[in-house]
Structure formats: structure tokens, C-alpha cells
């Protein structure tokens, strides 16, 4: 499977004078990586549900602090692929990963058997299709990941919760009702709360699995705007059913079909000048 990522990468570095990202992890470790460097790279990745091979030999690079969209018809394996990045398949018995997803800068294989999935999920956050806040207060939802990591200092929690809610554009709406149940929020607000919850632990990659498919157009627009802003903080990988959404929010687009990666490249190129017939058929609405 050919990837066109190198050409895409060239066109995206033209800005050239971005401030380096300084990520402060919970243990105080600092790292900087230039935007658009490889954050993760799938190499010969296959995935099996029992005897069924759902992903076939996928090669794809995910660039640092860019938005990469996965598109394709239902059942093409895009969500399955997304869920390999945080090892969600480990929760289902009888599943198997072959190949590798290299994670940088540490350079280890995310799907290796001896890598603890909890370790992976601590560094790669996820936002789901249906907003799934916990039946707790707004504050406790955002603080959840921090508490899991042993943070109990009230001042630190408050500071981090506020920062996460601000990053998720929910602070103004939520600041006066932090102790109210998260279930009193509207659907769009709940989804932004889930984004805040994921951001609070400063993940290096944030996975979105069709994050707006349960939302109305106004809430969808807010989430899309938010994702566009998030690319300054975090690497984003998003699965979407909605091709306009992929075109609006992503820098790179990968088209998948029947468990294979058909084509990947700069989003504008994929939508204006796809090199594969299958991609063209899909984006012009001939199937899917």
C-alpha cells in the first residue's frame, strides 16, 4: 500500500516558525517535538477478531500536532483502526494485533504484547461517538483522570480542571455549576466535557471516534471549531462519517475501504484530486 505522506508533510511545514510545544506530563517530564514530525506510525498493522481479519496491513504516519482524519464507508475498519491506538480491543476477548504502531519520540510499539494497555491509555486519550460523561459532578468528571493518576491536592485539581475546561471551551458555561451533575448538561456540552476530561491528563494523541454523530448542527460546529484549535496542543486522529467535516477540520485525510488503507494525503488534495478511483468514487458519493 503506497502512502503519499511525504508530499503531504512537505506542504504542511511551510509555516516553519511555530513555537515548540512544551508538554508537561504529570511526572514533570518535559519534551519538545517539532510540529509535523511523526508522532505515531502504523507499520504493517493487521487486526483480527477471532478468525476475521478486520484490518489488513496498514501503513500510516500520524504527524505531531496535526489533525488526521480517517474516512470510509461503514464497516471499512476506520473505528477498528482508531481503537488500536489506545488498545481498546484488549477489552474484547479473542482479538489479536499483528505488525506495529510505533509511538514517538520514545519509539516503542503500542500494540506489542508486553506493553501495558493502561500505560498506553494514560498517554493517548479518546472521545467517543456518544457523549459518555460519568454520573458524577462536572468537576469530578474532568478530575477523573488526574485522580486515577493519584493527584489529590485540591488546589492542583482545581487548577487543572479549569485549564482543561477552558481548552474545551466549556469553562464559561460550567464555571458556576462545577458541582452539578454532568448529566444536566446538553449533548454538545457533554461532548465538550468528555473532551475536557481527556485533555485534563495532557494526552499526546487525542482520538475522536465520530464525535459529532449524536449532536445537532450547532453543537457540531462548536466541536469542529474546538478540534481545529486543539491541534496547537495535541495530535488529533479523528474518524468521521461526514466528508465535509473531514474537509473542514483535518490537515491530512486517509481513506479506508474493506479493512485496507487505500490512500492518504493532504486533505485538500484528497478532496480535489484523489489519485485512486475508489477514493474518488467515495468522496463523490458513488458508494458508502
Amino acid at each position: 500500500m503506497e502512502t503519499t505522506m511525504s508530499t503531504a508533510a512537505d506542504s504542511a511545514t511551510t509555516g516553519g516558525h511555530e513555537a515548540p510545544r512544551i508538554a508537561i506530563n504529570m511526572d514533570g517530564h518535559r519534551e519538545t517535538a517539532p510540529r509535523n514530525a511523526a508522532k505515531a506510525r502504523a507499520e504493517g498493522l493487521s487486526f483480527h477478531y477471532g478468525a476475521h481479519r478486520a484490518l489488513k496491513d496498514i501503513n500510516l504516519e500520524i504527524p505531531e500536532r496535526m489533525v488526521t482524519a480517517l474516512i470510509g464507508p461503514s464497516g471499512c475498519g476506520k473505528s477498528t483502526f482508531l481503537r488500536c491506538f489506545n488498545r481498546m480491543h484488549d477489552l474484547t476477548p479473542n482479538t489479536r494485533y499483528d505488525g506495529a504502531i510505533h509511538f514517538y519520540p520514545d519509539d516503542f510499539n503500542l500494540v506489542a504484547k508486553d506493553v501495558d494497555p493502561i500505560e498506553v491509555r494514560m498517554r493517548i486519550g479518546m472521545v467517543f461517538q456518544k457523549p459518555n460523561p460519568f454520573p458524577k459532578s462536572i468537576f469530578e468528571n474532568v478530575a477523573y483522570g488526574l485522580r486515577l493518576r493519584g493527584v489529590s491536592n485540591r488546589a492542583l485539581l482545581e487548577e487543572q480542571v479549569e485549564a482543561a475546561l477552558r481548552s474545551a471551551a466549556l469553562w464559561e458555561e460550567a464555571k458556576d455549576r462545577l458541582q452539578a451533575s454532568a448529566l444536566t448538561l446538553s449533548g454538545g456540552q457533554q461532548q465538550r466535557l468528555c473532551i475536557a476530561r481527556a485533555l485534563a491528563t495532557r494526552p499526546e494523541i487525542l482520538l475522536f471516534d465520530e464525535p459529532t454523530s449524536a449532536l445537532d448542527p450547532i453543537a457540531t460546529a462548536k466541536i469542529e471549531e474546538l478540534i481545529a484549535q486543539l491541534r496547537d496542543q495535541v495530535t488529533v486522529l479523528i474518524v468521521t462519517h461526514n466528508m465535509q467535516q473531514a474537509a473542514r477540520v483535518s490537515d491530512f485525510t486517509a481513506f479506508m475501504y474493506l479493512g485496507e488503507l487505500v490512500e492518504v494525503g493532504d486533505t485538500s488534495r484528497i478532496f480535489t484530486n484523489p489519485s485512486k478511483k475508489a477514493t474518488e468514487d467515495y468522496i463523490t458519493g458513488r458508494y458508502g
Binding site: 489506545n86 481498546m88 477489552l91 476477548p93 493502561i118 500505560e119 491509555r121 494514560m122 486519550g125 479518546m126 467517543f128 456518544k130 459518555n132 460523561p133 460519568f134 454520573p135 458524577k136 477523573y144 483522570g145 485522580r147 486515577l148 493518576r149 448529566l183 468528555c194 476530561r197 481527556a198 491528563t201
Partner: protein
């Protein structure tokens, strides 16, 4: 049934036959509805009848004994020459055995439920659940003898002062008896917490135990609380175990190492005797039964409000 009558549309579709069959169908519906209503009313009628009998027979009792004496007298000796009618010894026995039972059933039942719902592989769960439910099918008289002949002797090794009849052994066995019940209802509640809620927790890097304790249990709390309340009702109403193993002496104490009688045990004891119908001793059964019903009702009402307060809508 009170739909406004619409004029039948005129035309070839409106034949006399169709009109008749419509009328037939409506009549049949009314008959079925009446039958179903009658079946439903039987349950209501029985409940109302029981309450009415308890109240009216208790009224006779309270013509002889003042409510003040009933609630404050520390002795319950209605069958002795020197008769006292203080219900508190029986209430104390009931609450103490119930408390001991819950101290066993709630931790064990909840732990089993968490294991079955969150940890057990599919095969283990499918084979353990029927075993649990089988425990619920053991006759309570067997549990009673188990308490008297197995549990109490073991307890006496730890507590040499423990009398042969005591509330501790009876309460523990009663607790074991309701463990399967608490576990089963709690497990159903936990399993109804949606998968996407658990996934949200796992995706944050939570372990199974963290997910179970921080997301699933709080999410299922209304159902778990309902399991506890139903467990309490069972313990309060349980008769055989306490009659056999707790001793039948009304004893105003909350010390579980003492023998005592519960309300249910007293009712059994008196029902077995040959008390003349209409005597004051006979009437005590109804007063005791009324108190039992009120206690159970209070727990159920408390449970109702508790579960409503913590209900989560997904």
C-alpha cells in the same frame, strides 16, 4: 375506549361485514381488558384485606392495652400470669438480627456482584449464577438448623460464653441466606450500566477495579440500594432461622450474643399454641404483625426515595 365517534367514510370500502368485524373486535378488546383488570384487582384486594384484618384485630388489642404501654413497656410476656405488652423487646430482636444479617449480606453480596459483573469471564459467570440462585432455593428451615448445629458451635469456639441460642449465629446465617439475592439484584444493576460508560473509564487509563468502584458502582447505585432494601425486607420478615436458632425469649437487648425473640418468631410461637380465639394473647399476633408490616413499609418507602434520588438517566 372513549374515542370520539367518527362518521364512517362512505364508499365501496365500507361494507357491512367490515363494520361488524370492527364492532366485534372492539367488544373482544373490552372483555379482555376487563379480565386483565380483574386479575390485577385480586392482588390489590388481597393486600387491602390483609391490612384491614391486621388493623381491625389490632384495634381490639388496643382496647385492652394502651399505645403507651405497648411502645414503652420493657417486657413482652403476654402469655404469663403477670402479662406485659411491651413490643420493644421483639423490635430489638428483629432489628439486631437484621443488622447482623446485613453486616454479612451487604459486603459479601456486593463483592460477589462486582466480581460477576466486572471481572468474571463469561463462562465463570454463566456457571456461578445458577449456583447462587440454587442457594436461594434451599428451604429456610435447613438454614435454621445450619445456624443452630454448625454456625453456633463454631462461634462458641471463638466466644466460649455464647449461649446455644443467640442472635449472632441466626443473623449470620440469615445474612448468608440473602447474599445470593443481594448479589443477583446488584449484579443486574451493574450490568445495566452501559458499555460506553465503562469504555470512557478504561480510555482514561483506569484499571478494572477503578472502573468498577468509581464508575460502575456509582452508576448502578439506585439498583444496588434497591437490592439492599429488598435484603432488609427479607431479613425483617425472615421467620424460620430466627425461630430455630435465636431462642424464643423476648429480651430487650441489642447485644447479638444474647438469645432473643423477633416479631416473626413470636408470631410462630403463639400460632403453634392453642390460644382461644378472641383472647388477648390471640390478639397480640395481629398487633405484632401490624408492627412488622409498618417496619417493612418504612424501609421500602425509604428505599423508594433513596433510589429515586440517586437514579441516573442514561
Amino acid at each position: 375506549m372513549n374515542e370520539p365517534k367518527r362518521p364512517m367514510p362512505a364508499g365501496p370500502a365500507t361494507s357491512v361485514g367490515m363494520f361488524a368485524s370492527l364492532r366485534y373486535r372492539k367488544a373482544r378488546d373490552r372483555v379482555v381488558e376487563a379480565l386483565l383488570l380483574a386479575c390485577g384487582m385480586v392482588a390489590v384486594f388481597i393486600t387491602v384485606a390483609i391490612v384491614a384484618i391486621l388493623v381491625s384485630e389490632s384495634a381490639v388489642f388496643f382496647e385492652h392495652v394502651t399505645l403507651k404501654e405497648f411502645l414503652t413497656d420493657p417486657l413482652w410476656t403476654p402469655l404469663f400470669a403477670d402479662a406485659h405488652y411491651g413490643i420493644m423487646p421483639l423490635v430489638a430482636g428483629t432489628l439486631t438480627t437484621t443488622f447482623v444479617a446485613l453486616a454479612v449480606a451487604i459486603p459479601f453480596g456486593t463483592t460477589i456482584a462486582i466480581y460477576l459483573s466486572e471481572f468474571a469471564p463469561h463462562k465463570v459467570r454463566e456457571s456461578l449464577k445458577p449456583v447462587l440462585e440454587l442457594l436461594g432455593a434451599v428451604p429456610t428451615v435447613v438454614y435454621g438448623y445450619f445456624a443452630l448445629l454448625v454456625v453456633t458451635p463454631v462461634l462458641q469456639k471463638l466466644l466460649p460464653e455464647l449461649p446455644g441460642f443467640n442472635m449472632l449465629g441466626a443473623g449470620i446465617v440469615m445474612g448468608l441466606m440473602i447474599v445470593p439475592f443481594v448479589a443477583s439484584v446488584s449484579e443486574d444493576a451493574m450490568r445495566s450500566v452501559p458499555v460506553y460508560m465503562r469504555e470512557g473509564s478504561y480510555a482514561m487509563g483506569a484499571t478494572r477495579l477503578q472502573t468498577a468502584l468509581r464508575v460502575v458502582v456509582p452508576g448502578a447505585f439506585s439498583g444496588i440500594a434497591a437490592a439492599y432494601i429488598l435484603g432488609i425486607s427479607r431479613a425483617v420478615g425472615e421467620t424460620m432461622v430466627v425461630s430455630i436458632a435465636a431462642g424464643m425469649q423476648p429480651n430487650l437487648t441489642f447485644d447479638p450474643t444474647q438469645p432473643a425473640a423477633t416479631i416473626t418468631a413470636y408470631i410462630v410461637q403463639v400460632s403453634l399454641g392453642d390460644l382461644p380465639h378472641g383472647s388477648i394473647g390471640y390478639q397480640t399476633i395481629f398487633a405484632a404483625g401490624l408492627v412488622l408490616m409498618i417496619i417493612t413499609l418504612l424501609f421500602n418507602v425509604a428505599g423508594f426515595f433513596l433510589t429515586r434520588k440517586f437514579r441516573e438517566a442514561y
